[in-house]
């Protein structure tokens, strides 16, 4: 399997971006778009090959590869190297990333009207940065990609969004950079404390594991909290969630799909990779806090979702509420909860990007996203309505659709969890169970307001979905149904990894 190189997987989008930006590449929207779509399709197939040759039973990292520059590894004298490797969780995220990029590119045709070269190259740069986050085996390499992902997001939101997008984008960028500085601070002191303890200068994530070494508790907590601040903003959890609905409501529709699909999963991934794997002891200490935090997320964001007046904001808040389930699953510290949380992250990406595909079709036809000016569109767009119905049912957690299994796993994981604060945990799990009602409330309210209420006069002439949109949405619906019926096909990819992580946690 020598043709499967993670370096090519990560660098290929950069190369595509450079080809598009090349002065002699025709500055014609059809040609640029076609190139981008073909490229993304091949890239998705290439990522699928990684899945096909992946050995799910293998413990630890596979496809390990180091990027060297003429035989010199990057920053070897500082113990930092450009090493890439993936395990089951990362592989799931990688395949998801390439898939969402493909969907985004197929939906870009209608909404992107200017600066095509910049747009498609930025999409590819963002893809590369996100793949780098999932594949990096080195802490500082992870941080490089983590910061790199902000710049394309800024451009994607600010250049093709509505008139207020610029402000929202800069707000997001500044907030993220501030959070990144805490992350960077945590990484720096971890890097040197590890050097002081073990006398090996390294930033390799696997060798930073804290379980065997003696670190003072206050130090571990400091580093843990710094990492937590860095990642919790991306998830996003409640007090730091404000940027997400803000940029989603102002960005262009295809960018919404991209952000909802993958950007948030990087936060979950970082939480698993660093906070869980590097600081198992402190994670145990913080687990009840995270669980309570998740509950707050579900209820607070869920309630906010109902009162929004824009459909994009509604769906964004719904996604923040779903992120609460991921936090509960991770904090329950057993295999059911953990597997459910990772599954939930993947399911959220698929379902919410599918919802944004629906919104993008609606926005293209009506040129509005305000809930008061929409209504009854189902009468003129029946195909869209039925496909959206499946997606909305899935977001609620109806059985045999993708979101059902992870929600069930997360909540039963929380119920079975043997954390110290038993009563708190049980109450939390029960509240989580009840909060499914809220989620049904906001999703169905969204569906009713957009598709079912009285049809306004100005929407009587709009057309139903084009064949391309139908095929995209039905592909997404098929995925939703398939993984709803066979959830094990996703879970078995990362089952062995989760058992390793939970072994370290010793619960």
């Amino acid at each position: 399997m020598n043709f499967l190189s993670l370096i090519w997987l990560i660098l290929a989008p950069v190369i595509a971006a450079l080809i598009i930006m090349f002065p002699y590449f025709p500055n014609h929207q059809v040609k640029v778009r076609r190139f981008a779509k073909w490229f993304a399709s091949f890239h998705f197939i290439y990522a699928l090959l990684f899945l096909a040759f992946f050995d799910p039973g293998m413990f630890g990292m596979s496809y390990e590869k180091e990027l060297t520059f003429f035989g010199i590894s990057w920053l070897k004298s500082l113990g930092i190297s450009a090493k890439f490797a993936i395990d089951g969780i990362a592989l799931l995220m990688v395949v998801l990333t390439t898939f969402i990029v493909l969907i985004t590119l197929f939906m870009s045709k209608m909404h992107i009207r200017s600066k095509h070269k910049l747009y498609y190259s930025m999409i590819f740069l963002l893809e590369s940065a996100l793949l780098g986050i999932f594949c990096a085996k080195d802490m500082f390499l992870f941080f490089v990609f983590w910061e790199l992902s902000l710049i394309p997001v800024y451009f994607l939101v600010s250049q093709w969004g509505n008139t207020e997008a610029r402000r929202a984008a800069i707000k997001f960028t500044i907030a993220s950079f501030t959070a990144n500085m805490f992350l960077f601070f945590g990484m720096l002191i971890l890097y040197y404390y590890n050097f002081a303890v073990s006398n090996v200068l390294t930033a390799n994530i696997e060798s930073l594991n804290m379980d065997e070494k003696i670190y003072p508790l206050w130090f571990q907590i400091t580093v843990f909290v710094n990492f937590l601040i860095g990642f919790i903003i991306r998830i996003p959890a409640v007090p730091c969630h404000n940027w997400y609905p803000d940029i989603q409501s102002k960005a262009a529709a295809p960018v919404n799909i991209m952000l909802a699909g993958i950007l948030l999963n990087t936060g979950v991934y970082g939480l698993i990779r660093f906070n869980m794997q590097v600081f198992p002891e402190i994670f145990k200490l913080f687990a009840p806090v995270l669980m309570a935090w998740g509950i707050v997320n579900i209820i607070y964001a869920g309630c906010l979702s109902i009162v929004q007046n824009g459909i994009k904001k509604m769906v964004s808040y719904a996604q923040i509420a779903s992120a609460g389930f991921i936090m509960i699953g991770l904090a329950s510290l057993n295999s059911t909860g953990f597997n459910g949380a990772v599954f939930m992250a993947a399911a959220c990406a698929i379902v919410y990007s599918a919802l944004f595909v629906v919104i993008s079709s609606v926005q293209f036809r009506t040129k509005t996203t305000y809930i008061t000016s929409l209504g009854g569109i189902g009468q003129v767009m029946p195909k869209c309505m039925y496909l959206a119905l499946i997606i909305c049912f899935s977001a609620i957690g109806i059985p045999f659709l993708i979101m059902f299994t992870p929600k069930l796993m997360v909540l039963s994981g929380a119920m079975l969890s043997n954390l110290d604060q038993q009563l708190t945990v049980k109450i939390a799990a029960f509240i989580g169970l009840c909060s499914i009602i809220i989620s049904a409330g906001y999703i169905m309210y969204f569906f009713y307001k957009v598709f079912c209420s009285v049809l306004l006069d100005q929407w009587k002439k709009i057309k139903d979905l084009s064949p391309q949109e139908v095929s995209i949405l039905s592909a997404l619906c098929l995925i939703i149904i398939y993984f709803g019926v066979y959830p094990m096909s996703i879970i078995q990819i990362y089952q062995s990894v989760s058992s390793i992580i939970l072994d370290v946690l010793q619960v």
């Binding site: 520059f69 004298s77 490089v144 990609f145 790199l148 805490f182 002191i189 890097y191």
Partner: protein, 480 residues
């Protein structure tokens, strides 16, 4: 003679070319004014070539042990000469406007480089004082070349303040001489070692006088108590002079500052905290001032101040590791700063653009110019795919390594660097504005364009091949 060949060759070559330029100014000033540029470039290239023939192992001394050449000084001399090479190319439009002054301009330009190199090599306070004063005077002469009447007034402030800190230097020097009756670095440090065995009182006085001496460096670097001259002077200066002021004195002063700190003050703990405090306040105030500026030259002035603060934060922990990180940072700063100035000079030369809001919509006319400028600004901000990130990581990791007492300074500096990122981001944002303008950036000036693209490429390439350079910097820091 042999010691001059072994230790003084680059300075000697530069001196010869200063005299060349002066003599040539008598004969052909207006007609063959372009010759001055080629003379200067030739001199700098020859000087760079001669540094490879200097005796660095063992260390070579000249002028009765007051002038040192080792791998550390050679490193800084190469940096200064490289900056001089770039700045000579950037001066093209300046000498075009002042054809009759071209040769004089380059002789002063070269003498600034010469005295910067002498200051790097000086291991004697008298030599150091003379070199720094002469460097300051060269800068003042270059600043006063601007025809704008306002500029004279603005740059006069620089001269007055420079005189004040020079007197502080002299006062500190007189105290040191009163105590040790010596000017040489090695003898004063020997005195310190002997005095430490007896009592602690003379050391406090000596530390105080050394701080007074360091004020000169703080002034030239634009660190906090002495940063008020920066924006006005830069605004009054011509563009190439601004680039000159923000690279050559900075390189020289950091070489001197690290030598003084490592030789005399490595034993005091309080001074570390004081320096860290100065650094953090500089970063914070500089960044906050930077985000409010509209004039590009003022932005670059505050940028220089903040970058000096970051370097000082790395310097204040006194270890070989931190010194190597400082050397690496200076190397990256050279390329990023020169590239940014090249981009601004291109803007000014083509359309007399000076302010941020005039940059609107440049992306529509010159996308590649904007991309190169963006890469350079990203490097200055210390973000990912450029050498700025590696340099920032290296310097902050050196601070993190040196003990928990520095962690509050570190986190403050990191948070302040977010403000700095926003400051540079404003320039990028302005260029990407969606407003149609009729600015046409004249990129036919090959020299400035070459420097812009070369620096943008260099920042990315250095990031990829940073390992070799870091090893070399560690070697240099070890042999200092």
């Amino acid at each position: 003679m042999s010691e001059i060949v072994a230790a003084y060759m680059p300075e000697f070559i530069i001196t010869v070319f200063i005299i060349f330029n002066l003599v040539a100014s008598l004969f052909f000033n207006t007609y063959l004014y372009k010759l001055s540029k080629w003379f200067t470039l030739l001199g700098i290239v020859l000087a760079i070539a001669s540094t490879f023939y200097l005796q660095i192992e063992p260390e070579a001394f000249a002028f009765h042990n007051t002038f040192l050449t080792n791998i550390y000084t050679v490193f800084f001399k190469i940096l200064i000469l490289m900056a001089g090479f770039f700045l000579t190319l950037l001066s093209r439009n300046m000498i075009r406007e002042k054809r009759d002054r071209a040769f004089e301009y380059f002789s002063v330009f070269l003498s600034g480089i010469l005295f910067a190199m002498c200051a790097v090599s000086a291991v004697d306070f008298i030599g150091l004082f003379v070199s720094l004063e002469a460097l300051g005077l060269s800068c003042y002469l270059l600043l006063s070349l601007n025809k704008n009447p306002n500029a004279k007034q603005l740059t006069f402030g620089y001269l007055v303040q420079s005189a004040v800190v020079s007197s502080l230097f002299l006062f500190g020097l007189s105290v040191i001489y009163g105590m040790c009756a010596e000017f040489g670095f090695d003898k004063i440090s020997l005195y310190l070692v002997n005095a430490a065995a007896v009592s602690s009182q003379p050391q406090i006085l000596l530390t105080f006088s050394l701080i007074l001496i360091m004020c000169t460096m703080f002034f030239k670097l634009g660190l906090v108590p002495f940063s008020s001259w920066l924006p006005d002077t830069f605004e009054g200066a011509s563009y190439p002079i601004g680039a000159y002021m923000s690279s050559i004195p900075v390189l020289a002063c950091f070489a001197v500052l690290s030598r003084i700190l490592m030789t005399f003050l490595h034993y005091t703990y309080t001074i570390k905290i004081v320096l860290a405090l100065i650094a953090v306040i500089t970063i914070f105030l500089g960044s906050l001032s930077l985000i409010r500026q509209e004039n590009l030259k003022r932005i670059m002035a505050y940028s220089m101040s903040v970058q000096s603060g970051i370097i000082l934060l790395g310097l204040c922990v006194f270890s070989v590791y931190s010194l190597s990180s400082v050397l690496f940072y200076l190397f990256c700063y050279l390329f990023a700063n020169t590239g940014a100035w090249a981009a601004i000079i291109l803007l000014y030369n083509s359309a007399k653009l000076e302010n941020l809001d005039e940059l609107k919509g440049v992306i529509y006319h010159r996308p590649y110019y904007v991309i190169a400028f963006t890469v350079i600004l990203i490097a200055l901000a210390g973000l990912a795919p450029t050498c700025g990130f590696v340099a920032k990581m290296y310097i902050f990791s050196a601070v993190a390594r040196s003990g928990f007492i520095f962690l509050p300074f570190l986190i403050t500096a990191l948070l302040a660097s977010v403000i700095l990122i926003y400051g540079y981001w404003r320039i990028i944002r302005a260029m990407f504005r969606r407003i149609e303008t009729d600015i046409v950036i004249d990129t036919s000036v090959i020299s400035s364009k070459f420097i812009l693209y070369a620096c943008a490429a260099a920042t990315v390439i250095i990031c990829l091949f940073a390992d070799k350079l870091i090893r070399f910097c560690q070697l240099v820091a070890y042999y200092m």
